[in-house]
């Protein structure tokens, strides 16, 4: 892969996904694109890229983009936030919602561990929850929807007791029980795209996504999240993430790392 190829990859990811591909990831990019080249019938990564530059094919472009996104996730990542959700947020929101139903969105769910963690938390808290989980990567969504996790994946973040309650062995892997899978609706979605309808969520988790994005695109994504969040809802970012500089629509919840609620300005705009 030449420097020029990498520059073009950076531009592709920034414009289509808002994703920032640091120059330190050149070798990682080459490594990740190897399987894509083989799958798509090219002899090498160079051949794949030359074809893409000469005749851009949307499906090939997305295959390349998907391979370069950061899929890192695990069950109950930053454990404390899941305790906050199931012990505090869900019961509190449920009390003020018709029928007690709470809506949650796992935005940038990768292979689904976050969404399954939410579904487990809601069912253990006995709160009726509608959970939507989306990601830019169709391959990630397909895996998430399958509910299948390797022994490595299933053990990262879940205790054995919880694993036994919610998953069953399937050859070399573990699969989510039907009542867990049925609790989540998985779909492909690009966070750069404006909301297509007026659906609102009570809790939105968008963790470790904004910190991977081009600065110029972050504001746009935050704006879309704000439009999707109920006025009394909660936005949850990664433990180390901040959006204070990107928007005036949200304010952090004191003492709760990564939790944001709508600022008064955003409430009046929505009204």
């Amino acid at each position: 892969m030449t420097e020029d190829d990498f520059d073009r990859l950076q531009a592709l990811l920034a414009s289509r996904a808002g994703y920032r591909l640091g120059r330190d990831r050149l070798h990682l990019a080459e490594h990740r694109l190897g399987p894509v080249a083989r799958r798509e019938g090219f002899d090498s990564v160079d051949a794949l890229l030359q074809s893409l530059w000469v005749k851009p094919v949307a499906s090939l472009g997305w295959a390349v983009i998907e391979a370069l996104l950061n899929p890192e996730t695990w069950f109950r990542r930053d454990r404390a936030v899941f305790d906050t959700i199931s012990r505090e947020l869900l019961p509190a929101i449920s009390r003020v919602r018709p029928g007690g139903r709470v809506t949650l969105w796992s935005a940038g769910c990768s292979t689904g561990q976050e969404a399954y963690s939410l579904a487990i938390g809601a069912q253990e808290a006995r709160v009726a929850a509608d959970i939507v989980a989306t990601d830019l990567s169709q391959r990630a969504i397909d895996k998430a929807r399958s509910g299948l996790f390797s022994a490595f994946e299933i053990q990262r973040g879940l205790s054995a007791r919880v694993m036994l309650d919610w998953f069953q062995p399937a050859e070399d892997a573990w699969t989510a029980v039907p009542r867990l899978k049925d609790a989540i609706r998985f779909a492909r979605h690009n966070l750069l795209d404006a909301p297509a309808d007026g659906a609102r969520f009570d809790v939105i988790l968008c963790r470790n996504v904004l910190s991977e994005m081009e600065h110029a695109q972050r504001g746009r994504v935050v704006d879309h999240l704000e439009r999707r969040l109920a006025d009394d809802g909660v936005l949850i970012l990664g433990a180390e993430e901040r959006i204070d500089g990107d928007t005036v629509a949200f304010r952090p919840v004191g003492g709760r790392q990564g939790l944001y609620v709508k600022a008064p300005a955003a409430l009046s705009r929505a009204a």
Binding site: W74, R79, F152, L158, S159, A160, R161, M163, L164, P169
Partner: protein, 140 residues
């Protein structure tokens, strides 16, 4: 520094500072013990090793370890027998015990939890899994 040197060679059963967390690794495989030792030492534990359940019990005559990583199938005394004996000892309910074994059947996992294990690790494991499991039981 002489103090640190003395600490590093002192047997686990001796009077250790309360802020030093201790881990007993019980496995008949020297390689598994070595791999696990490297991981838990990286997490700040002071480590002791035993090759079977009976040897592990002999390490539990003084202060009990904070954490036990326990294989299931071992000669002399298996892990299940060890944990049942440990849990019957005065203060034996305190150590966090994680089975680390190739047994992956749900009924075996349930049996281990029923015998008093705090959590269960299916081999092969890596540092991330072990760290995650130790965090889940509140040991790190």
């Amino acid at each position: 520094m002489p103090d640190e040197a003395a600490r590093s060679v002192r047997p686990l059963g001796d009077d250790h500072p309360v802020d030093t967390r201790t881990c007993l690794i019980v496995d008949d495989s020297r390689i598994i013990r070595k791999v696990a030792r490297r991981i838990v030492e990286g997490l700040g534990f002071e480590v002791d090793e035993a090759a079977d359940g009976a040897e592990a019990l002999s390490h539990c005559t003084g202060p009990l370890p904070d954490v036990v990583l326990l294989d299931w199938n071992m000669p002399v005394m298996d892990g299940l027998t060890f944990i049942r004996r440990l849990r019957e000892m005065p203060g034996g309910g305190r150590p966090k015990v994680l089975f680390c074994t190739i047994e992956t059947a749900p009924e075996r996992i349930a049996e281990a939890l029923g015998a008093g294990a705090d959590d269960y690790v299916m081999k092969p494991f890596d540092g991330e899994i072990l760290h995650s499991k130790l965090a889940e039981v509140g040991a790190v």
